[in-house]
């Protein structure tokens, strides 16, 4: 498909702007004035509509295809959530920051505050900031809070400990805050190696970042012990909440002993993923970390009104422009409001059932390196198929031709040829059965005709793409017309 720039016709106009009702002002001085207008597309409204509608049809999405992308919780996003968020589109975030301005923003402040309160109850934490704009941003904020805590106590800390199964953002976020990373290997039973963990734990460790269930989809039965060991060294426990969908209403990280948690509202709380974002990554903390929370902080007064607190003395400061990705937060609050207590519990139950169902129906044809009851996702390996030169990526391309968005492949890094399947609770048994049948077909084809995979996918607008060429040539901006 042509680029919108290639469809451009000089002089063609799209949207018409209102006429000016003020006199034209003298132009900007020459040194400041733009010499050449930016070469943006020149297209009619219909050109634009056809172009982007055409592009949209070149995507797989949750609304069009089963999308079991592990670690991403691609559940169905209820349409009412979109309507809920639109109600808040016209409100300016500066208004509550004006003197006495908060009384003009009670609806927005109230929503953000009550969302934080609900998330605190869901996670067992004392307070939540909604400011972080995605999961990784929440991680960085959380580690900054931990750094501020240690600094206030005069603790000399240097390291953050992560298991090797952790998501790449965990070590990357800790490194952004200036910590060195210690990686602990995974034991044969699928959890962090406890002996190795004990060995690396010293008083110089600032925090331990855990994902629970971890990225293998397994719940670590020793998690309490890990929290205790960390706390003995005055290291704080960080919970990566990307996998909270598995334990909603079942386990609260705060009860277990975690001190800081981030959530991915775009995963667990039903808000759409937007082709890569926007997300929202609220951070919950225990009491001892409350003084360090980012500013501005939304508070509720005794009279039931909401306000914006003056920055606290110890606050780490702003991590983002205003109060978070409010539109995403509104969707998450609408989701929690609609599902309520019982609905949220049902989410984790059905998510875990769906994952175990898929696991039990595929484990005779794919290797399952950690064969235990899983939580919300299961991780297979294509090791058996690799013997016939069929790799995880080939199975992924087979699935594309059959109308499925592939599972996450090659993550977690500790599983060779990983195929990470997260069905989510919103998928029906029929959908899962059809997917299972196709996955079994792929396994069979890997045995009978492995060469067939090389040409897949065949049904998409493009065949397999040359990634090496892209990296070498670095054409990231169109230089034509």
């Amino acid at each position: 498909m042509q680029l919108i720039y290639e469809k451009s016709v000089p002089g063609r106009r799209g949207v018409r702007l209102p006429a000016s009702d003020v006199p034209a002002a003298p132009e900007l001085p020459a040194a400041l004035r733009r010499q050449e207008p930016a070469a943006l597309p020149e297209a009619s409204e219909l050109d634009v509509v056809r172009h982007f509608t055409g592009l949209s049809r070149r995507n797989y999405s949750v609304d069009t295809n089963f999308y079991p992308l592990g670690s991403c919780t691609m559940k169905y996003n209820a349409k009412a959530l979109e309507e809920a968020a639109k109600l808040f589109a016209p409100y300016h975030p500066m208004v509550p920051l004006l003197p006495h301005g908060s009384s003009f923003s009670q609806g927005c402040l109230g929503l953000a505050y009550e969302l934080g309160a609900a998330l605190a109850e869901i996670t067992g934490m004392d307070e939540v900031t909604t400011q972080p704009l995605a999961g990784a941003h929440g991680e960085m904020t959380g580690i900054m809070l931990i750094a501020a805590y240690h600094e206030a106590k005069g603790n000399k800390k240097k390291y953050v400990v992560v298991p090797d199964s952790s998501h790449g953002t965990n070590p990357a976020s800790a490194a952004m805050v200036g910590y060195e990373i210690i990686t602990v290997p995974t034991a044969p039973y699928g959890d962090m190696n406890l002996d190795k963990f004990r060995e690396v734990m010293t008083d110089e460790v600032a925090a331990v970042m855990m994902t629970c269930p971890n990225t293998l989809g397994l719940f670590n039965p020793h998690i309490q012990e890990i929290c205790d060991i960390a706390h003995d060294h005055d290291a704080l426990m960080y919970y990566d909440g990307a996998n909270l969908n598995a334990i909603l209403g079942k386990v609260r990280p705060g009860d277990v002993g975690f001190d800081v948690i981030h959530l991915n509202l775009h995963k667990t709380f039903g808000t759409p993923h937007g082709g890569g974002g926007p997300g929202s990554g609220p951070v919950g903390v225990k009491k001892q970390l409350v003084p360090f929370l980012p500013s501005p902080r939304i508070v509720k007064y005794d009279d039931g009104c909401y306000g914006v607190d003056a920055p606290a003395h110890g606050s780490i400061g702003r991590t983002a422009g205003f109060f978070g990705n409010f539109g995403v937060m509104a969707k998450a609050f609408a989701y929690i409001t609609m599902l309520g207590r019982d609905g949220l519990i049902q989410v984790s139950e059905q998510a875990v059932l769906n994952a175990n169902y898929v696991m039990s129906k595929l484990k005779d044809v794919y290797d399952l390196p950690y064969d235990q009851t899983c939580m919300h996702e299961c991780v297979f390996s294509a090791a058996r198929q690799v013997k016939n030169e069929v790799h995880a990526i080939d199975i992924a391309k087979f699935l594309i031709d059959r109308g499925y968005h592939p599972p996450t492949v090659y993550f977690p890094l500790i599983v060779k040829e990983a195929i990470m399947i997260e069905p989510t609770e919103t998928e029906s048994k029929e959908t899962l059965d059809a997917f299972i049948a196709v996955m079994r077909e792929a396994a069979e084809l890997a045995g009978t005709d492995p060469a067939a995979f090389a040409e897949m996918p065949r049904t998409m607008p493009v065949t397999r793409l040359d990634e090496t060429k892209a990296a070498r040539e670095q054409n990231v901006c169109y230089f034509g017309c």
């Binding site: 919108i4 106009r13 702007l17 400041l32 004035r33 733009r34 930016a38 943006l40 597309p41 509509v49 995507n59 797989y60 999405s61 069009t64 169905y76 996003n77 808040f88 589109a89 409100y91 300016h92 975030p93 500066m94 920051l97 004006l98 003197p99 923003s105 609806g107 704009l133 990784a136 790449g168 953002t169 990357a172 976020s173 490194a175 200036g178 397994l218 309490q224 609260r252 759409p272 082709g275 890569g276 974002g277 400061g317 702003r318 991590t319 978070g324 990705n325 409010f326 309520g340 207590r341 019982d342 059905q350 059932l353 009851t373 992924a396 993550f411 998928e427 996918p457 065949t463 901006c477």
Partner: protein, 448 residues
């Protein structure tokens, strides 16, 4: 099942599925969780239908002041959004997909983001752009870290006329790193870069400025760029994309890295988010860019296609050595930006900028003519300007809010010595009537 959890399986199907897993009950599936770790509380209200939820949300939204006349900015601007933006970005094929890890079934998102990167390069006068960051402030912080990586130096100079929120974000990001951040206090009315130029030394990684700056002033940064480059430092410019319709591009003024907030391009105010941050640079720095980048390539048949490229910079491969921790970005907002720019087009953006400029010039003149009101900007401004009042600005703004006019952003919380000053923002949405009403109310308050 009466709860709205969007779980489709019937009790009968649940029984069949449980049997297949070998578990005796749903509870049995949760047996890996030791009983002692079970939730001690889960006190949430009962659920409701979407109709009841929307009714409740309408009530909640109604608790915000309706129909305020906005002359406030602070980095977020009340702009028109053509209907096509909502309709096209509202296509579920875009908004219910995720990061385009599998390029063959994600060409829609990938091509759109490639076109977005192109639009950002063309607007800013840069050669390469990533596929978006979180927001304008975090983009500035990422640019600061990028400059530290590129130069291997550890000193940054930031203009005090950069949006105070963005400066605070930069401070927060750098707080735990071994970096010296020098903030140069602004001198209102003197859009003169001498103070900044004098601070650059050969330990300086970058100078960070904003154009137009927080007070609304538009500057020529060519001499600053030359001085920075002579000292081996980079020039980082935070730009306002709508202004780039008529204001010279940062690239043409010598910038090395350009960032900004894309909210003004088709993203609603939405109480401060989501919007998107953009970051673009000269090509030689591409490997130091944070976040996702889309690249052009070909498929097995030689047909053009697009992929995520240079992923070896990113956290999922490099872990703690990545250029940034960012994973999810703000793709859908960036897509909105692209649709916005495509539907306005080359000439439309110039006209939009011109409308903003003309309206603000009219407001500047009208307010400046009021007794005791002084316009503080020495030179040109874009759609914001700073006035000094004969009274405390916070008090004036409070009084005007009660009349339904958000008259401006008082400066004292950010610049304590400027307690009689406020920044007034005038976008294309403000009518002459609204501007005249603002002037009338302001005059009334100043005379009382």
């Amino acid at each position: 099942m009466s709860t709205a959890s969007y779980c489709p399986n019937t009790p009968e199907e649940v029984r069949e599925m449980l049997a297949a897993t070998g578990a005796s009950s749903i509870d049995d599936l949760f047996r890996p969780i030791p009983p002692g770790l079970r939730a001690r509380s889960f006190e949430l209200p009962a659920g409701m239908s979407e109709f009841e939820m929307l009714h409740r949300f309408e009530t909640l939204a109604g608790k915000n002041a309706q129909h305020l006349s906005h002359f406030v900015g602070g980095g977020y601007y009340d702009h028109l959004i053509p209907a096509v933006v909502d309709h096209l970005a509202g296509r579920a094929e875009f908004y219910t997909a995720y990061t385009p890890y599998q390029p063959e079934c994600s060409q829609g998102t990938l091509q759109a983001l490639f076109e977005y990167q192109t639009a950002i390069c063309r607007l800013t006068g840069m050669e390469v752009s990533n596929a978006s960051l979180y927001d304008g402030g975090t983009a500035l912080a990422e640019a600061a870290m990028m400059a530290l990586r590129i130069t291997g130096r550890n000193r940054l100079v930031i203009d005090g006329a950069v949006n105070p929120f963005h400066r605070e974000i930069v401070r927060t990001y750098l707080a735990n790193l071994d970096v010296e951040l020098v903030e140069i206090g602004p001198k209102l009315g003197m859009e003169d870069d001498l103070r900044l130029r004098a601070t650059i030394d050969d330990a300086t990684a970058a100078v960070l400025v904003q154009n137009p700056n927080f007070f609304g002033s538009v500057s020529d940064f060519r001499r600053l760029a030359a001085d920075a480059h002579a000292a081996g430092a980079l020039l980082v410019v935070s730009a306002y994309p709508v202004a780039l319709g008529i204001v010279e591009s940062p690239g043409a003024m010598g910038a090395d890295i350009v960032v900004g907030d894309g909210q003004s391009l088709g993203n609603p105010l939405s109480f401060g988010g989501p919007s998107f941050g953009f970051i673009a640079s000269r090509k030689e720095y591409i490997r130091n860019l944070p976040g996702r980048i889309i690249g052009e390539t070909v498929d097995k048949n030689g047909q053009r296609g697009f992929v995520l490229t240079l992923q070896a910079r990113e956290q999922h491969i490099k872990r703690h050595k990545a250029t940034s921790n960012i994973c999810s970005n703000q793709s859908l907002c960036a897509l909105r930006g692209l649709i916005f720019l495509s539907s306005l087009g080359k000439q439309g953006l110039v006209e939009l900028a011109r409308l903003n400029y003309d309206k603000a010039e009219y407001a500047k003149k009208t307010l400046g003519n009021l007794g005791g009101v002084e316009v503080m900007n020495g030179g040109a401004t874009f759609n914001e300007f700073t006035v000094c009042l004969p009274k405390i600005a916070e008090e004036v703004v409070t009084a005007l809010l009660r009349k339904g006019v958000a008259a401006g952003v008082p400066l004292s919380p950010y610049y304590p010595e400027m307690e009689r000053c406020m920044v007034v923002t005038v976008t294309e949405k403000r009518t002459k009537d609204e501007i005249d009403t603002l002037a009338r109310h302001l005059e009334g308050i100043l005379c009382s």
